[in-house]
């Protein structure tokens, strides 16, 4: 029931903001708003965070026009986290103490997410991490107050390994930015590829410093080891530089390349006509997803902001509706009621059903896996399919072992 309700409300809200018939119309929400604290790297990671904030605001307007939650409007209170855990924890404190938010959400960087998660645990307040990918957030350092929406590093790596398994590539090279995200993605990959492809070996590993790759030297070092496949974790400016050097030096020719996140518009758009052909990636082919709710979201977003949606937009939109459904079902904004309701709650989102698995508080949200291709001068995904996150979660035994603390 809640699922259907959600989807219908979305369609109505999107397709007919002004047309909603009286039969469906609910009165706009009134009374004191329910406030939700949203902490993100709006200034530093604006490429992701601004589309994300746009979509949340769009969803907020839709939700409140349709009656809000519990008859009260929702209000997202946005704060910049300065991209540092110290500032993030301080604004979290400010949101909880001063702004009287019911729970906190957001964060982009894994270290910020972890710090806020620990703060939530300490202050006994719910935290819904939307973007940070580190496995630690729901595994080793998970706590009962912290939930995560996006598929983690492990889940996305596993999706890619499953997709590349059939090619039976044995000699692998790894290139990953030298910090926690890169190192743990590399570790996941090593473990998963060994399980998936018997006889697989890692013949070279390169860990350039984040944001300052020496692409020529890195490409040279990779080529020297003559791997048959390359697992790439670099992104953003590092990725562009790596792709350019690799293309010119022929690194990617006759090699299988598997790459995390590269298909997301945030990273694909800057690649432009340099987008390599045939990489296996996780991403977001928004223009090709034809499901009605999603298409409606895209249309509304483009109309409102005169811009194409990014993965951040998608995430923000799903997140905002998730908040409403959660509050509506919990019937209260008390932390304990929220936690009790959230565990194992099922949601219907514009990308299909998502469950918030109770054991590790990781949503089963999926990701799109496909190949990169060049469409004229812009990159795109082809041969993609949506992978349901539920198939790629850590096993319950692994979760119990990791979260025993």
């Amino acid at each position: 029931m809640p699922q259907n309700f959600t989807r219908r409300a979305v369609v109505a809200g999107l397709g007919a903001t002004g047309l909603a018939g009286p039969a469906m119309a609910q009165t706009a929400a009134s009374g004191a708003p329910i406030r939700i604290g949203e902490i993100n790297s709006y200034s530093r990671m604006a490429a992701f965070a601004l589309p994300y904030r746009n979509a949340i605001q769009m969803a907020q307007d839709e939700i409140n026009a349709r009656g809000g939650a519990l008859g009260r409007p929702l209000e997202f209170v946005f704060r910049d986290d300065g991209s540092t855990p110290g500032d993030a924890v301080r604004v979290a404190e400010e949101l909880v103490t001063r702004e009287n938010v019911s729970f906190i959400a957001g964060t982009f960087l894994s270290n910020v997410g972890l710090a806020v998660s620990d703060f939530a645990n300490q202050r006994k307040i719910m935290f819904l991490a939307t973007e940070p990918l580190t496995d630690a957030l729901t595994m080793a350092q998970g706590n009962r107050y912290t939930y995560r929406l996006r598929p983690s590093t492990f889940m996305q790596t596993k999706m890619l390994v499953d997709a590349v398994k059939a090619r039976n590539v044995r000699r692998w090279g790894i290139v990953a930015p030298n910090y926690e995200y890169g190192q743990s993605a590399a570790a996941n990959f090593k473990r998963l590829i060994a399980e998936a492809t018997p006889g697989a070996e890692i013949v070279v590993e390169q860990y350039p410093a984040l944001g300052r790759i020496d692409a020529g030297a890195t490409v040279g070092a990779l080529a020297q080891a003559r791997p048959d496949g390359i697992f790439n974790v670099t992104f953003g400016a590092d990725l562009t530089q790596f792709v350019r050097e690799g293309n010119t030096r022929g690194l990617f020719e006759r090699r299988t390349v598997v790459s995390l996140l590269t298909g997301e518009p945030e990273y694909m758009i800057p690649l432009g006509e340099e987008t390599p052909e045939g990489w296996l990636v996780t991403g977001y082919p928004w223009e090709q997803i034809k499901d009605a709710p999603h298409a409606a979201f895209v249309a509304a977003y483009r109309a409102k902001f005169n811009d194409t949606p990014r993965l951040g937009s998608f995430l923000g939109y799903v997140f905002a509706y998730m908040c409403r459904d959660l509050i509506a079902k919990a019937g209260s904004v008390e932390t304990e009621a929220l936690l009790k309701t959230f565990d194992d709650m099922k949601f219907d989102t514009i990308s299909g059903p998502v469950t918030m698995r109770g054991i590790d508080k990781q949503a089963t949200m999926g990701a799109w896996v496909g190949e990169t291709t060049l469409n004229g001068k812009v990159g795109a995904m082809k041969n993609w399919r949506f992978e349901d996150g539920a198939k790629y979660m850590f096993t319950e035994a692994e979760v119990r072992a990791a979260r025993k603390g």
Partner: protein
Amino acid sequence: MDLSFIIIQSLSGLASASSLFIIASGLTIVFGVTRIVNFAHGSLYMLGAYLAVTIVPLLLDVDRSLPMFLLGVLISALIVGVFGALMEIILLRRIYHVPELFQLLATFGVVLIVQDLVIKIWGAVEIPGPRAPSLRHGVFIMDQRFPAYELFLIAAGIVVLAVLWLLMQKTRFGVLIRAATQDREMVAALGVNQAWLFTGTLFLGAFLAGLGGALQIPRVAINTQMDISIITEVFVVTVIGGMGSVPGAFIAALIIGQLQAFGILIFPKITLVLVFLLMAVVLVVKPWGLFGKSDAAAGRAILPEGILSLKRFGTVDNIVAGLAIAVLLALPVFGDNYMVKVGIEVLVLALAAFSLHFLIGVGGIVSFGHAAYFGLGAYAAGLLVTKGGLSMEPSILLAPIIAGAFAALFGYFVVRLSGIYLAMLTLAFAQIVYAVCFQWVEFTGGDNGVVGVWPSSWASSRQVYFCVVLAFTLSAIIALRHAIYAPFGYALRAARDSATRADAIGIDVRRIRWFAFTLSGAAAGLAGGLYSFSKGSIDPTMISIPMSVDFLVMVLLGGIQTVIGPLVGAAAFHSIKDFFMPLTDFWRMFLGASIILMVLVFPRGISGAAASLTDRFKPAPKPAVAPS
């Protein structure tokens, strides 16, 4: 490793070296003439790149040819040159005579402003630049493909070196630059129009930075973090080469290029540490870099920038201090959780700023990496609690000891240097600590850091922990303040005022500076330890350059010439940041503008300004000679 690979790899190293040299040559020339370490040099580089990705495609639309590409690059570099000249006229000209710390901070203010300007104009998404026509392909060298553009870059570096050499040897402008680099007074004595020379130098330096940036567009995606990532590397190049020396920068860039190209084969994970290790080693062995000379002006007797006289607290001061402590004590009773949290942070930052001021204001030791000791204390406490199984109490006590031990280790080398080289060595050590914490994921948790650093249960309420912090910080500050007035502090100040005289009355200058460095590091470590328990986690941002800069700004904001200044500065800085951050995404621009404003208008900081205000209302001092 076969021969062809070695050749290709060293060519890659050369291409990086060439890019680095073009940028670094500008920085080193500007330093040679103006003696200003221009933090904004990285911003000029970034501007060059952004201008080029805007201008070059327009020209390529007209005619898709290499000359058009190069024309676009040159135009971008020229615009950046003009920007640099304007920066000289508007800002630098006013700060040649202020202490170097203030200069560094003012140029850092420019960095912050340019960052937000770039985001405002070009957006936060990275922009891939156009490839250079006719240079997109790979050239076969011993059966390996090597990008033609990289070969072009190598050539460009050599051309720049040659042109600079001709400029320095054959033109009047070049001769003046060399003369000014060797002896500024001499140029003044020659009757040269200094303003013209300095503006011209900034134009040249900025042009080179812009050229370096514009030449990068076919290789990298232009992004808003280019400035900071390049400036640290360029610092390393200029310092290793010897500040002011163009050939030095060339050699240093070559060394670093090759070191990186081959270093990553042996230590693929050491990427960040390598260059700073090299810089630290060079500075320890050759205190003025490979080709640098000791600054003749360094030994002159000039008024120190720090504390000038230690006034005892008067009645008014005692009342103010008493009131401040009363307010602090009342905070946990009357303030809400957030206010208490902010209170804790202000106290912690006040101690950190005070410990830095102890070094700068009393010891004349300008540390540009004070966050290292703050961070080491935080990491020590955090790791002891989470991995060492200790409780909060011993961890807080061990934090200053461990931070102090590292300060003693690094300080041993730091106190051998002076001036800007000293500042750069502290920066290098801080970057080494940062890189280790950032990249040694197994031990430190990498950039995620470690969470779960919470106080023992009896101190877990914010209010109780506030009192813990208050007790520690207040006693540490009082103890440090007492040390300033004790013979130890006097001897430290004596060594700052005149190292020669101090030595001649039996003061072991290095030893006393070393002790001060250690003590200050330990105090910062205590602050870091306390901070980690208030935040609940540790992570590398506590050790980063912006953190070190924050501390410096607090010291500067409060006023470097008063003992109480850093405390006022920490409180003011934190409140301002706390106030602005929720209001705007462009708070860095405000911060940058305020730093510059402070340097220009209130070089003595808040308490300095307050002191001159109160002086005005006091009865005029008795004239030294009684009228007869």
